[in-house]
């Protein structure tokens, strides 16, 4: 049984690879470039779903990701809300993960230039954090008022005009869940589509594992992020945060392709 060769476990090999990687991420920030973009199937299908929604649609948007994933969802969510407001719809936000509450607050700052022209409680509202994972989701969808009495800011649910005839999942025209865990993704398919048959869109970093649900139980499965976000922004002609990341995505993917190729080549030379 051989001890793995010295070269293989050298510490300086790590520093070279990590150092080169940090450089490939610094370059596109200092010298930005954005390659042309082709619209894929997933962004087109989601765009058509939103276009075909009735006038003044009611949307449930779930924030289930942590601060690290904000760049993945910011572009897509802001473009989606602009699209909904162009059909003067209403967006009801909720969080099923603890960090989700803070992600909504962050979006109030970055999306402030649109939300400031709207009125809280009529065009958009945030109902706060519902713990309990899938159990919390199931009880929220069955009856909002049985789970929470107030929104995140403390006003009673019944005082909010947006919540007048909204209590269960069937009152929403579209449910969109932005999340990174894959356990709650299946939970949304089970509780929203299987139980209530409401139109469901999920933007998830683990979207490839939700592909079997697409398109019958899950009408829109948006991944890989933020590439789909950039495509959606181009579709509604409002370039935003996702389109700005195309340069980094290009170099980041290229770096890994080279790593895999040189990893195998280096092995052949070492043995030869």
């Amino acid at each position: 049984m051989s001890q793995r060769s010295k070269w293989f476990t050298q510490e300086y090999l790590n520093w070279i690879i990590i150092g080169l990687m940090y450089i490939t991420y610094i370059l596109p920030v200092l010298f930005p470039f954005s390659p042309p973009l082709t619209i894929g199937e997933k962004a087109t299908r989601f765009y058509n779903i939103v276009e075909s929604l009735p006038e003044e649609p009611y949307i449930l948007m779930a924030y289930d990701y942590s601060p690290v994933s904000y760049p993945l969802f910011q572009g897509l969510q802001e473009a989606f809300m602009k699209h909904i407001y162009s059909k003067n719809g209403r967006v009801i936000c909720v969080a099923f993960s603890a960090d989700g509450a803070m992600m909504y607050q962050k979006m109030e700052i970055t999306f402030g230039y649109v939300w400031n022209t709207k009125t809280y409680g009529e065009d958009y509202v945030f109902l706060g954090y519902i713990p309990g994972g899938e159990t919390g989701l199931a009880s929220f969808l069955s009856s909002i008022r049985s789970v929470i009495a107030t929104d995140f800011r403390g006003n009673l649910i019944d005082d909010l005009p947006i919540m007048k005839n909204i209590d269960t999942c069937t009152d929403f025209d579209l449910v969109i869940d932005c999340e990174t865990g894959t356990t709650l993704g299946d939970g949304f398919v089970r509780q929203v589509s299987t139980v209530y048959k409401t139109t469901l869109a999920i933007a998830c970093s683990g979207g490839a594992t939700l592909e079997p649900y697409y398109p019958d139980q899950l009408q829109a499965n948006l991944y890989p992020l933020p590439q789909v976000g950039a495509e959606y922004e181009t579709l509604i002609k409002e370039p935003g945060n996702a389109s700005a990341q195309l340069g980094v995505l290009f170099l980041g993917a290229l770096y890994f392709i080279l790593l895999f190729i040189f990893g195998n080549i280096a092995r052949i030379f070492k043995r030869g």
Binding site: N14, M102, A138, S139, V147, E211, L246
Partner: protein, 212 residues
């Protein structure tokens, strides 16, 4: 009597609640009101259990300070101080206040984000060292990986347009079929686990007791 209260009663409680929720899902017995109450009770208890993590953390670090553990105790003081600062700020200003959000945005958000973004930095040295074409399976894996790396990124959608077709076929046919098979296997596993919990055969969740 005390054996019944300690062991069998909790098992019966789990079974009764689960059986009721199953019946209410499959049959029209109009139990919606009770189901909503049961669900919101579970939500309240889960919220109350979030405090347990905090107690476990502060207990283990107070122990380290008492023992003056070499090289560790001053880090534990830093931890307890930052925890108390956050709790006081949260209670005093309130969770939705701008001060508390500022505290969150300048501490938990940057640290948590950067730590999570390091996943790819850990992956890179491993990718260079260990991704080998050893047998048929690893060849299949590396080929699809390369196509998705090109097709799913601006490289493919800008210059190599054929990769878009292949990668969307890989996503929607090959990956969807394999994940479908995986979902059936996992689904069966979870349902049978649920049945064992329901019928009291599975007692793992009663085994754990805090001995730390």
């Amino acid at each position: 009597m005390s054996y019944f209260l300690r062991r069998t009663a909790p098992l019966w409680l789990t079974t009764i609640i689960s059986v009721y929720l199953f019946i209410n899902y499959y049959f029209n017995i109009g139990g919606l009101q009770i189901e909503q109450l049961l669900l919101s009770f579970a939500v309240v208890i889960t919220t109350a259990s979030l405090g347990l993590g905090l107690i476990n953390l502060s207990r283990s670090h107070i122990l380290r300070i008492q023992r003056m553990q070499k090289g560790q105790w001053y880090y534990s003081i830093i931890l307890l101080v930052s925890m108390i600062v956050t709790i006081v700020a949260g209670l005093f200003y309130g969770a939705d206040s701008s001060e508390f959000t500022l505290l969150y945005d300048s501490t938990v958000s940057p640290l948590g984000s950067t730590l999570m973004s390091l996943f790819i930095v850990w992956l890179a040295p491993g990718a260079f060292r260990a991704v080998r074409i050893k047998n048929v399976e690893s060849t299949a894996l590396i080929i699809t990986l390369m196509i998705i790396l090109i097709g799913g990124s601006p490289i493919g959608s800008a210059y190599l347009l054929d990769s878009l077709t292949i990668s969307s076929w890989l996503n929607s046919v090959l990956n969807a079929a394999a994940q479908r098979g995986l979902k059936i296997t996992i689904g069966i596993g979870l349902v049978i686990l649920g049945i064992r919990l329901l019928s009291g055969l599975e007692k793992t969740y009663l085994k754990g007791e805090i001995t730390e």
